[in-house]
């Protein structure tokens, strides 16, 4: 299969990622009970199967939010099926006892008591036929539990994507920089700077908690623009004065972090409107978090840029052989400038998203993020010597890191141990990739 071969060659890390997912799926298998509407549908089907279409039913649920959804949706389905819901007991065991006493007094016979898994173990239901002989011998029914990995629950999977969105978005710019043969250590600090700037702009200039949507967008754009200016400055130092990128961006990392602390006055800025969390916590498109949608859109655009556009070719050429690119008429300084500006701008965007997720701006955000971002890019197969790397690879790299972190959280690995494991896994993943390339690489005489 040529498609499989291409996938293997370009994105071998996919298999490491799948292997990790499989591993964490196996180790996090546990009992799951359905809740809410899903549970109601299942119980309704069970009732219909065992008692025909028209039994007498008592509903008994606790006082959790899911329980109310379960009760109301079960009541609706049962009525539609033609069953008679004799009573609905919500709250505590004593509410259920009261309901049963009322029903017994009225001489109602019950066929089924439908309840939540928690209510099923209530003492009041232990011996219904002896305590309330008037009700007959009702059958106690609760949603059946099933075995499923905690890792593969849809909330958890969304959680992973949501957590990695910021790192993955910044990794787009980092991939471009690394493909040119450079590095950008300033992204973590620029993230913090952007979060603080966005929050300050909103607090001081857009009306704080009463800020309008347009005002907030302008504030975020201003913060991103400020980060881009830092990126442009780095690019200028690198191209005009030929200072190594490592040193320039190391300096900018300190400058950015220091500025962020100064501007934040050493504390978090939280005077932000409720609606500010739309970007970071909202989920408007088919249940996907907005940050994840934005991330996917940016990756699609970046992939097209790198594989189909002139600028992408130039980035690869500059990283592959700068002198050959220059002598082929590539405007090397402009290409490098673009890479560092994009990297800084995306770090700024990451800051806005993080401020939105946490509904505040703080200079402590993004600490060590540059390292996670670089790790994602490298795990994704880009070469630190430049000229090679792909956007989908970086996305896979980011997910690999997220899955490892999430999996260890689910399996209660201590956070210090997590760092050790993460470090070793990154090394192992890249080692595997290198060996695979060496094996596949054809040497010529």
């Amino acid at each position: 299969m040529p498609l499989l071969n291409t996938l293997l060659r370009d994105y071998g890390m996919v298999f490491v990622l799948l292997l990790l997912c499989a591993f964490f799926s196996v180790v996090t298998i546990s009992d799951q009970s359905p809740r809410g509407e899903a549970a109601a549908a299942q119980v309704a089907a069970d009732i219909k199967k065992s008692h025909g279409p028209a039994p007498q039913v008592l509903l008994a649920v606790g006082d959790q939010p899911d329980d109310a959804a379960f009760a109301s949706s079960l009541e609706r389905i049962l009525s539609a099926q033609g069953a008679r819901v004799a009573a609905v007991a919500r709250g505590e065991p004593k509410d259920a006892r009261q309901a049963m006493e009322t029903l017994a007094a009225a001489g109602t016979r019950l066929d089924v008591i439908a309840c939540t898994p928690a209510a099923r173990s209530w003492l009041v239901f232990a011996q219904v036929d002896r305590d309330f002989p008037a009700l007959g011998t009702p059958h106690l029914l609760a949603p059946r539990s099933y075995r499923w990995p905690n890792f593969l629950k849809s909330e958890n999977l969304l959680n992973i994507t949501n957590q990695i969105a910021v790192i993955a978005i910044i990794a787009i710019g980092m991939t471009m920089v690394i493909i040119t043969g450079g590095i950008d250590l300033s992204v973590g600090s620029l993230l913090a700077l952007s979060a603080v700037l966005t929050a300050r702009f909103i607090r001081d200039h857009a009306g704080g908690v009463d800020a309008s949507a347009g005002g907030m967008v302008l504030c975020a754009l201003a913060a991103i623009a400020a980060c881009s200016a830092v990126g442009a400055f780095s690019g200028l130092m690198i191209t005009r004065f030929r200072i190594p990128p490592f040193i320039v961006t190391l300096a900018m990392m300190l400058v950015g972090s220091g500025l962020a602390y100064t501007l934040a006055g050493g504390q978090s800025i939280y005077q932000l409107p409720e609606s500010f969390i739309w970007l970071g916590r909202g989920a408007d498109l088919a249940g996907l978090p907005n940050a994840v949608v934005l991330m996917l859109a940016l990756y699609a655009a970046a992939h097209i840029l790198m594989s189909r556009m002139k600028l992408g070719r130039h980035l690869y050429a500059v990283g592959g052989n700068r002198e050959a690119a220059r002598l082929s008429g590539v405007a090397v300084p402009r290409v490098l400038m673009t890479a560092y500006i994009v990297s800084a701008a995306l770090a700024g965007l990451g800051g806005v998203i993080m401020a939105s997720q946490l509904k505040s701006g703080s200079a402590t955000y993004g600490n060590m993020y540059e390292l996670y971002v670089i790790a994602a890019v490298v795990v994704g197969g880009a070469s630190l010597s430049g000229g090679a790397g792909k956007m989908p690879g970086t996305l896979i790299g980011a997910f690999t890191i997220a899955v490892i972190q999430n999996g260890m959280n689910l399996t209660n690995v201590e956070s210090y141990t997590q760092k050790v494991v993460l470090g070793l896994v990154i090394l192992g993943a890249v080692l595997l990739d290198t060996l695979r390339h060496r094996h596949a690489g054809t040497s010529t005489p």
Binding site: R326, L327, T444
Partner: protein
Amino acid sequence: MPDPPPPLLEMSGIVKSFPGVRALRGVNLRLAAGEVLALLGENGAGKSTLIKVLGGAQSADEGAISLNGRPVTLRSPQEARRAGIAVIYQEFNLVPGLTAVENIFLGRESTRAGFLARTDERRRIDALFQRLGADFDPAVPCRALTTAQQQLVEIAKALAFEARLLVMDEPTAALTAHEVDRLFTLIRDLKRRGLGIIYISHRLEEITTLADRVTILRDGRNVGERPIADITRREMIEMMVGRELQDEFPPRTPALGEVRLEVRGLRRGRAVRDVSFDVRRGEIVGIAGLVGAGRTETVRLLFGADAREAGDIRLDGRPLDLRSPQDAINAGIGLLTEDRKHQGLVLAHSVRDNFALPNLDRLSRHGFVRQPQEREEFARYVDRLGIRIPHQEQHAGNLSGGNQQKVVLAKWLARNCEVLLFDEPTRGIDAGAKYEIYQLLNDLAAHGKAIIMISSELPELIGMADRILVMHDGRLTGEITDARHATQEAIMHLAIA
């Protein structure tokens, strides 16, 4: 009568395969002590693989190697070195930041009580340098040395550890004529001291003057072995290419038009001093001179690759202000650099990407590359130039020198350049591909292009150029208008000035 002593080196039935390629198919080679054996063959004939096997850099799949009659296995460069085999590859193995002394003793530093015995090392090097006639300071970093000096360091490295067998791969590729003379004197001296020397070169004149015997490889097999006295230059070429050769240079009937390129008072530091000349439509102008005479620097100024301090450049009467290669490319000037690997190609990228690089503005719309058009256009040039590649995604680094040069040429032809600057266009290219490149040059000239060609191979300049400019020490020191009847002596006389 006693048996003759076993030869210094005997390699027999050497087979080596790479994925998809059988590089060596049973090669035999003998070398006696005190003998210079020339190893000849086109690129891809298996010479490099054979010496890598000998140097321990690659291990043979089959075959036996014996030294002085004793079988040896050479599994690593260290083992080969211990066995007394020193290989000097075309790209030197020197650490640029270390001095000659440090490089020579690298990995085998002599120590006294754990400290480097520096005076001891230095004394040995001084003795060695004197023997080699090396008159430079061994305490300066190697990056500050000329190519010839670095080569001497490599030779000193081999001798410092008592090599009995010295392999030299294209040792004169980057040397000036004078340096070549000194190298030959040295090789003859080493030979007298009983070293066996395997000498690889594309320059047949060198082989004729230097070697005792020649072994010729083609397609991974031996195709001939003769004492040098019993073989003509023509026979050597014919054995290499496997067919009878008519002429080294294609016939050329120049049709010169009006002046296209005018260069006046070009200047940059000490490298280029007040250089003025013209190139006509349909003309091939050769530039001769020693390495460092300012030839490469001159064409780089014409391409905007370096900034000029003074000078006017006009193309078809229009003055050009070239501040970057982009400006030159937009004006219709193309440069084929002398160093394809470092300046001409992105080796790790596909040949098609390399081809497209200077043409992307033409091949893209609204920033998007029009890939079908790109593929089709490249295919046309692959056809036209006879570039031999399995597919367009082939990495440029995996091609032979001739094919690489054709890819670089395709880059500029697709740009429709009016002025083409060729810096050593046939360096490291085998005889068959050279002829094709010459034909392309003629073809371009016939289409009215103005061509400048730098070459260190004087026969090539005489055979191809209509006019030859000679440079020395940054200046034009002469012009030979009737290039066809120039002699190498006349050119050298001007080049040494």
